[in-house]
């Protein structure tokens, strides 16, 4: 996979020196010297293995737009992104699973119809527009609800220089809600159908027949089994979570990896783009592996050779 990404970025016409090619003060001779210094005049496979060797040691090259090593640029912004993604993940999981269970247990009730309709809206919502509307409603206009006038900050991670929990939390609300929407929608729909399947199984009927209360049947016997397939779905939504973070961070001026990526994009800083793509793909693959292993551990019916 790294080969594919490397090829795409290196053999793109113009290549990694594009930002210099557009500079009128740099002559043809400078370009040739630069290419030699950076090893860009060597054959492709030599470059690839050199680069791969560096990547394994954690060296992703030099970011031209930030004037610092790529790894440093990304690592500086990683905590902000992980905070946002982590909050969105927990929030989506809590709301999505709860909504899915309620929807399944009260199938065909008005509550079920409301949840499924909202899920459809969530899945069809363009993230960036939802973000704009949230900013409009909660920062620009400042909607009054529950006797409280909302005026949440619409940009940045903090407005104070020193760390203040309340301040941070306020900044986190809107981006988290925006990033979560799609996953709440997807996971609640999945949870609903997964729960409906489990509810029809024999062991649920047995548990109910034994006189276990309905609440305990659903939460203890049902939920445990219905959650297992969700693990795979969650692992599959990880690429979407990264993509969503790019959009969310851009709109809310969140100082994370996603915004770094968009800035690098505007300046054609391919070393950084490459580093970002490698890191996210690596995380996605690792998570899928972990999810597969978790699945086997949670569901003894599945065996791996």
């Amino acid at each position: 996979m790294s080969i594919v990404l490397f090829t795409i970025l290196q053999y793109a016409p113009g290549g990694p020196l594009t930002p210099y090619l557009q500079n009128p003060h740099i002559t043809e001779a400078d370009i040739i010297r630069l290419k030699h210094n950076l090893g860009l005049d060597q054959p492709g496979y030599v470059q690839y293995f050199k680069w791969l060797f560096q990547v394994v040691r954690g060296d992703f090259g030099w970011s031209m737009s930030n004037s610092e090593p790529v790894s440093q640029a990304i690592l500086e912004r990683l905590p902000a992104t992980l905070t946002l993604m982590g909050c969105a993940f927990v929030f989506s999981l809590a709301i999505g699973v709860t909504a899915g269970i309620i929807s399944a247990v009260r199938q065909y009730s008005w509550l079920d119809y409301t949840v499924t309709t909202l899920a459809f809206f969530g899945q069809s919502m363009p993230v960036f527009w939802f973000a704009l509307m949230m900013q409009l409603a909660f920062s620009v206009v400042g909607i009054t609800a529950f006797g409280y006038k909302f005026s949440l900050p619409s940009a940045g991670i903090s407005s104070l220089d020193n760390f203040d929990f309340w301040d941070r939390l306020q900044h986190l609300v809107l981006p988290t809600v925006v990033l979560s929407l799609l996953f709440i929608a997807q996971w609640s729909r999945f949870m609903r159908s997964s729960m409906l399947e489990v509810v029809r199984t024999d062991y649920m009927r047995t548990a109910a027949a034994k006189g276990v209360s309905q609440r305990a049947v659903i939460l203890k016997h049902g939920l445990k089994n219905a959650l297992i397939p969700l693990v795979t779905v969650i692992a599959l939504s990880l690429p979407g979570l990264f993509a969503g973070a790019v959009v969310t961070e851009t709109i809310f001026a969140w100082p994370g990896m996603g915004r770094l990526f968009i800035n690098a994009l505007g300046q054609f800083d391919f070393a950084l783009l490459m580093g970002y793509m490698m890191l996210t793909s690596f995380l996605v693959i690792t998570f899928n592996l972990v999810a597969d292993l978790c699945y086997a551990w949670l569901d003894p019916r599945v065996k791996y050779n």
Binding site: A12, R200, M277
Partner: protein, 307 residues
């Protein structure tokens, strides 16, 4: 107490051996009211997109210099039903032409993605072995790279080699279409794996049909239902994907209007001109919602066992 549990003892799913007849499909589809409404909305949007030239209230790139004074005009001012954007261009006209761009990009990209996916999935499922191995690993690779960042990098490469104006309709279609095949490929492969074991497939082979004929004339028609459903849902995805690219400035380039790039400047003007931000997004939401409901209805109608 326990009786209130929605448990249906002995519910055996009915597996249909043959594809449902056209009448059955239509009857099932008609029962799905949201899907019917969705279909009507999509036809309405498509008609507007096709007839944008005739229906337009103004030229989408015409700047109303008489009334415009440097800030967006509000809806209803000077015969602009939905107002103007920050450059004094009629919002309704731009929305209509935006519909044309967004819908055609989605249509062509999906046709391309579905064709590639169906072809690769079909030969992968039919032949198996190393063909299958290579195609499935390629699918894994594409699916493990986050799609939006990958598309952004590719568009940046295209823009970096010449200029941003080169990011036209064709480039966007090819990039999105060229990356949206893996899910279809997996789907088609799965149905081909079971179809090739069926008796009619063996019969077709026994009478001496060539592989190509068996794949496309005998097996493919039996795998068409899930492909149609997937294609519908894919259109919804591509509309969102294209509008996101255009919003971030790496999709359809201005002055050509697309629902996404109309929103690009809306954020900075949102305090003075919320309507410029509301309407394009509403168009995307309504269209995508309609398509998703249509896909849901089609799934119920074509193959109730699928899910």
């Amino acid at each position: 107490m326990a009786a209130s549990l929605p448990i249906t003892p002995g519910a055996v799913p009915v597996v249909e051996e043959t594809a449902p007849s056209r009448n059955t499909v239509w009857r099932r589809f008609r029962r799905h009211k949201p899907a019917l409404i969705g279909a009507v909305i999509i036809i309405f949007m498509a008609l507007i997109a096709i007839g944008a030239n005739v229906l337009k209230p103004a030229d989408p790139n015409f700047i109303d210099q008489v009334n415009w004074q440097g800030y967006p005009l509000a809806p209803g001012v000077a015969h602009h039903i939905l107002g103007t954007d920050e450059n004094g261009r009629d919002l309704l006209a731009r929305l209509m032409f935006g519909a044309r761009i967004s819908l055609t990009v989605a249509l062509f990209a999906v046709i391309m993605g579905i064709s590639i996916g169906t072809f690769l999935g079909a030969i992968s499922g039919y032949y198996g072995g190393w063909v299958d191995f290579i195609i499935m690993r390629a699918t894994d690779v594409v699916l493990s790279i986050p799609l939006l960042p990958l598309l952004l990098v590719l568009t940046a490469i295209v823009a970096g080699t010449s200029n941003k104006a080169s990011l036209n309709f064709g480039v966007i279609v090819v990039l999105i279409g060229g990356l949206s095949w893996p899910s279809v490929a997996r789907l088609v492969r799965a149905s081909f794996l079971s179809l090739r074991e069926r008796e009619f497939a063996e019969a077709a082979k026994a009478v001496g049909n060539r592989d190509g004929r068996i794949i496309f004339r005998h097996l493919l028609p039996n795998a068409v239902a899930p492909i149609i459903v997937q294609a519908t849902l894919e259109v919804a995805n591509v509309i969102i994907l294209e509008s996101t690219l255009s919003f971030l400035g790496f999709g359809i380039q201005p002055p050509t209007a697309s629902w996404g790039n109309m929103l690009a400047n809306a954020q900075s003007n949102i305090t003075v001109a919320p309507w410029a931000a509301i309407f394009p997004g509403l168009c995307i939401l309504v269209t995508v919602l309609a398509i998703n409901y249509l896909g849901d209805g089609l799934r119920d109608a074509l193959d109730p066992n699928m899910r």
